[in-house]
Symmetry: C2
Subunit: 267 residues, 2 copies
């Protein structure tokens, strides 16, 4: 594996690389503490619609996790996102997504849109598998350590089918998404998820209705699952939920100095 770009800042190193899946090049980045050696918990972060693998909030969280907990964090560009589209396409996508999540444009689930999302997910799952496999081969990550997943909105749309078939991830933050009537594949995937889940939901989300959000929470097969509901729209998750995500991950994955035992036992 060759890193195409390696940059260190404030004690955290970001390394760019890519994996090839079904003839497509999937751009990836992995952050870890500068000078990291040996195994550590690995976090997978799935960005939202129109965003990309280095979206500022995601990158900031990855750096924070590296500094505070010694984690490595892996992110990839979803199909049709980031470096996989042109700047003009990305700008158009951001405008379209922005209009939907703020409610300026109704978030209609047209057959075309559902087909696009379904195809995107079908491509994204093997891409995540390949990127995860590559990351586990890095000497500063290693195999057998705890793996977590964080992804809301499109990060949940892709994360649910990914988690349904990935046995390595042991805890996940999901949210800002719902279970649409008729989305039987998605519901079946949610039911297959049995790891602890913290599901964050905005009560006035223009993209996901309350009923659909509760429906998705109900569908998760996990014995430990918590739904955090806050007022406000799609972009308005309160900062204190970010603190809650940190505690959730530390509780389930541990830290580099004290990784979770459950995952260690699976080595």
């Amino acid at each position: 594996m060759e890193f195409t770009d390696v940059r260190s800042e404030d004690g955290v190193t970001g390394r760019s690389f890519s994996v090839a899946v079904a003839g497509e090049i999937v751009p990836a980045v992995i952050w870890a503490p500068e000078g990291a050696r040996g195994p550590r918990p690995l976090m997978l972060m799935g960005h939202g619609g129109s965003q990309h693998k280095k979206t500022p909030t995601l990158a900031a969280r990855a750096r924070q996790y590296a500094r505070k907990f010694g984690y490595a964090t892996l992110a990839i560009d979803a199909p049709g996102h980031g470096d996989r589209i042109s700047r003009a396409e990305a700008a158009a996508l951001a405008r379209e997504t922005g209009a939907r999540v703020t409610g300026r444009v109704a978030s209609a689930w047209t057959p075309e849109r559902l087909k696009l999302m379904s195809e995107r997910t079908a491509r994204a799952v093997p891409e995540w598998n390949a990127a995860l496999e590559a990351a586990l081969g890095f000497d500063f990550v290693g195999r057998g350590g705890p793996v977590g997943y964080w992804g809301v909105s499109m990060g949940t749309a892709i994360g649910v089918p990914f988690l349904a078939q990935c046995r390595l991830v042991t805890a996940a933050i999901l949210g800002l998404a719902g279970l649409r009537p008729g989305a039987s594949d998605f519901e079946a995937a949610a039911r297959k998820i049995t790891i602890p889940v913290e599901f964050v939901f905005q009560w006035d989300d223009a993209v996901a209705t309350r009923e659909h959000g509760v429906g998705l929470f109900d569908a998760f097969g996990s014995a430990e699952k918590t739904m955090h509901i806050n007022p406000g729209g799609h972009m308005g998750i309160p900062d204190f939920e970010g603190d809650s995500w940190e505690r959730f991950f530390v509780r389930h994955l541990g830290t580099v100095d004290a990784p979770a035992r459950m995952a260690a036992a699976a080595e």
Copy 2:
């Protein structure tokens, strides 16, 4: 104010006292760090139905808050509870409540039961006011510091009308209760609450339906309010919610060494 009993254990002192309200003696207890002097955040804890002011889980939390955050915690026996009834009455009440919260007996809102609860609440609010006023007079509590409220189940049934009229409490943990159709006074009280609220709810509660729980969450007038939903019954709140309560209170009230500014500004 005379303390009828003073006991220190593991660095925390519990002091028993009482206040007289409308001809009734209301037994109270306040925990604080051993040797505590000067102002500190004050926590009010409202026990659940059939419990009492020194119920083990409540007392343990109060001691924990004293040790970790330097808080003082005040608890009182609700009307018809604790030292205000005989041991035989308390045992019968515990049996009856136990049958309801575990679903062995339907939690029917009969007119008699609604009347009993309404009268209990009407008595409890001035009792809380009087106990709070007494506590603020203790030199190890003082006036002008932040005040929080914790109370689930009956602690919410009483807490909502109490908080609706108390301007001193600036953050509250509530939960395990719902908004019944026709409970217009309760709903009006919930709408008057504008402080940050974390509302913990059990998704399979035999006492409060999902719909009624969501209805109460919706009724709170607070800009900052979060509903935490977990699977399981009335007695099954996961331990990690207790950790969340601590962080919620530290965020809003601060600690004895760094009390919250909002409340300090109101001195």
